[in-house]
């Protein structure tokens, strides 16, 4: 996958035989052993590896669960409970899978924020970034459909509300919704197709991940300085350096994962999902999973009509727009300097954006009434302003700090100044 010169030399006869026919060992060697990575990567850069681990973990636990699960509204809820009660270690596999989804999103949010902080999306990595956005979108679709499968109250009503969004689209909206549902309401056809797609999409994610990693290995990784690799001393070999660092980060992340699975496995879930779906009883409070809450808050923040667009369509457009805007970030950021380390104002607005996103998440869990609506509108405004106003304008008006000439120089300067690792590469 790497664009550079291959240094692989097969040592055995079998290796040479293989290399002349299907150079798979060469590909692996060039991509994951000899592949040069910037020497100054910090732990924020380990989340790509963690995400790969989580994808594999979700697929493995998911395949085992599918052996015991039955996608039929009459038995789905009880089949999940059978897994929890009677299948050997079923409780473990199921809790791993349900909490694994949350851990997957925690990791992807850190990964995305890291990209925004260090300007990882900037040329020549626009396609790399867009492929990442596609993965994120596929993850959201997969997680949403997975949440419907246990056929609890939140499964059912969440599916009803979210598929209801599509009816806001003029002309084709109703048709799209009926296609998604396989009927006029959430019912057995919905559950069947969601199960089918929930099984399919992770493999599509895996496919896009291959493209994502491919694109990464063509351009090479960014690093906290945002300066491209210029000389050999700027990099270290992927193995053992990045491998061991990623592995350590994975173990720490797994400890967090295990803490949730073994001690508070239902903390991130909703108690109503332990009640079987009932089309006649609306839960008091329909909320999506926590990782969708910021978008849910944006959806509900649009309580007013804008010209011919009524508030319902406006909310749906704002919600989808909040994700769509990510795709064009490479062209919204006008700054010549890549990393926030050298951009004092961008750094400030970035951290405000992070706090704002968490705040939106909390608002998404509150009822859309009273002061919450006004707060959600303010937070939504900042969400969009960050991308559409701050990013383009700041790039033109901000005076960045002096950049070091190379990664090596940045590392050496940091060392001689004795600055702690987190503040590295400040120049």
């Amino acid at each position: 996958m790497s664009a550079g010169h291959s240094t692989y030399t097969p040592k055995s006869g079998l290796g040479r035989w293989m290399d002349a026919r299907l150079p798979l060992p060469r590909l692996v060697y060039d991509s994951f052993v000899a592949y040069p990575v910037p020497r100054n990567l910090n732990y924020a850069y380990t989340f790509g590896g963690i995400l790969t681990l989580m994808l594999v973990a979700q697929i493995v636990t998911g395949i085992v669960l599918a052996m015991h699960y039955a996608a039929n509204t009459e038995v789905a809820f009880n089949s999940v409970e059978k897994i929890m009660r009677d299948v050997n270690s079923g409780w473990l596999i199921r809790y791993l899978h349900s909490n694994g989804a949350s851990m997957f999103f925690i990791a992807v949010y850190v990964h995305i924020f890291r990209g925004l902080y260090y300007g990882s999306y900037k040329a020549p990595r626009e396609l790399l970034w867009i492929l990442g956005c596609i993965i994120y979108l596929l993850m959201m679709a997969t997680a949403f459909m997975g949440y419907v499968l246990p056929w609890g109250q939140m499964s059912f009503w969440g599916a009803t509300v979210i598929t209801g969004f599509f009816t806001a689209i003029p002309v084709v909206g109703d048709w799209i919704q009926q296609l998604l549902l396989g009927g006029f309401a959430v019912d057995n056809p919905t559950l069947n197709r969601f199960f089918s797609l929930h099984y399919l999409l992770p493999f599509m994610i895996a496919g896009v991940v291959v493209l994502h990693v491919w694109a990464l290995h063509v351009t090479g990784q960014t690093n906290p300085t945002g300066i491209e690799v210029k000389q050999k001393t700027d990099t270290v070999a992927f193995t053992p350096y990045a491998t061991v660092k990623d592995a350590f980060a994975m173990v720490v992340f797994l400890a967090l994962f295990a803490y949730f699975v073994f001690y508070i496995p239902n903390f991130l879930g909703h108690p109503d999902n332990y009640i079987e779906a009932d089309a006649l009883k609306t839960p008091a409070h329909i909320v999506p999973e926590w990782y969708f809450l910021p978008f849910y808050a944006i959806l509900r923040a649009i309580t007013f009509n804008i010209g011919p667009i009524d508030s319902k369509l406006g909310g749906v457009l704002a919600m989808f727009g909040a994700i769509a805007v990510l795709f064009v970030v490479p062209w919204l950021d006008t700054s010549k300097v890549r990393s926030a380390v050298y951009r004092p104002w961008y750094k400030l607005f970035f951290w405000l954006f992070v706090i704002n996103a968490i705040f939106l998440g909390w608002l998404g869990s509150r009822p859309a009434e009273g002061v919450y609506v006004a707060m959600a509108q303010g937070a939504t405004l900042y969400y969009f302003a960050f991308f559409i106003v701050i990013m383009p304008v700041l790039g033109l008006v901000e005076t960045p700090r002096r950049l070091p000439n190379s990664i090596t120089e940045a590392v050496l300067e940091k060392k001689s100044a004795g600055v702690p690792a987190t503040e590295q590469a400040k120049g």
Partner: protein
């Protein structure tokens, strides 16, 4: 069971009304209840090393079968599961035999009643939800298999953040205990519809259709535990937690091994990482 044209119609109506606004409207109602938040209790199964108190589970089971089971089913729990409570195989067989379940069809095609076996699940007190509603003032008594995980009063910010570190996962039993001991005569000005009973701990309204189910001395304990409403509520809440999460002990003990392994392994990884990177920095 819940399918058919009736359900379909009501979903359509619901959907039409729902739009995106209804969720907000109903949420507004939800915010008022419960009037009082449950008080946190001490549970033997709380914390990283928590285990069920078998004596308490047996007492709780006694309360369930003598009081609650008259109205509340427990469809997902089988008699064989009672061995978790410390009963021997023979005792479980004897307990099961006290129940009758429907079986069949037999050779002539008829359904028949027989004594339950350990592999049977607890028979439900009502044949269907309609019958249950008709006998209970229109309210279906919820199934108890998962009730301890299906009820949790919202903790609010910032308590829910602290809950991660304190491993608070007992909202269900706390709620059950609070509800069972929380009935009050004086409704403090809240409207209490005919046939319902004021209870400030009830999660979705000011009053519920269930009359106060427990009274002092109504269940005889043979292990010397106090025969009070508070003790009954505590015991049945613990029993229901077990019914909802029968593998809790296995989960926590496995968790300890996993955490110790990951911390040790993580420590070794860190040292390896430092050694490998020593020549770079």
């Amino acid at each position: 069971m819940r399918k058919g044209i009736f359900a379909m119609k009501s979903i359509l109506n619901g959907l039409a009304a729902l739009g995106l606004g209804l969720a907000a409207v109903t949420a507004a109602n939800a915010a008022e209840y419960p009037i009082k938040k449950p008080v946190e209790q001490d549970w033997s199964f709380a914390g990283p090393f928590g285990t069920y108190d078998k004596g308490q589970l047996q007492r709780g089971f006694k309360v369930y079968r003598e009081v609650c089971a008259a109205c509340h089913s427990m469809n997902l729990v089988a008699f064989r599961n009672l061995e978790d409570l410390g009963y021997s195989e023979a005792q479980v067989r004897a307990i099961a035999a006290e129940y009758e379940v429907e079986d069949g069809p037999d050779d002539s095609g008829d359904m028949f009643m027989r004594a339950a076996k350990p592999s049977d699940r607890f028979p439900a007190p009502f044949a269907n939800p309609q019958q249950a509603a008709a006998s209970n003032n229109g309210a279906v008594p919820p199934d108890f298999s998962l009730i301890a995980k299906a009820r949790a009063v919202e903790r609010g910010f910032p308590t829910f953040v602290f809950d991660i570190f304190t491993q608070y996962a007992e909202a269900g039993p706390d709620y059950i205990h609070a509800l069972l001991t929380g009935y009050e005569e004086d409704s403090h000005g809240h409207e209490v519809p005919e046939g319902t009973y004021y209870n400030p701990y009830f999660i979705s309204s000011a009053s519920l259709a269930m009359a106060p189910p427990l009274s002092e001395g109504m269940v005889t304990y043979d292990d010397g535990a106090p025969e009070t409403v508070d003790q009954y509520a505590r015991d049945v809440a613990a029993f229901l937690m077990w019914a909802a999460e029968p593998h809790l002990e296995a989960r926590k003990s496995t968790g300890f091994v996993v955490m110790v392994f990951l911390l040790l392994f993580g420590g070794l990884m860190y040292l390896t990482k430092r050694k490998i990177w020593a020549d770079v920095h």
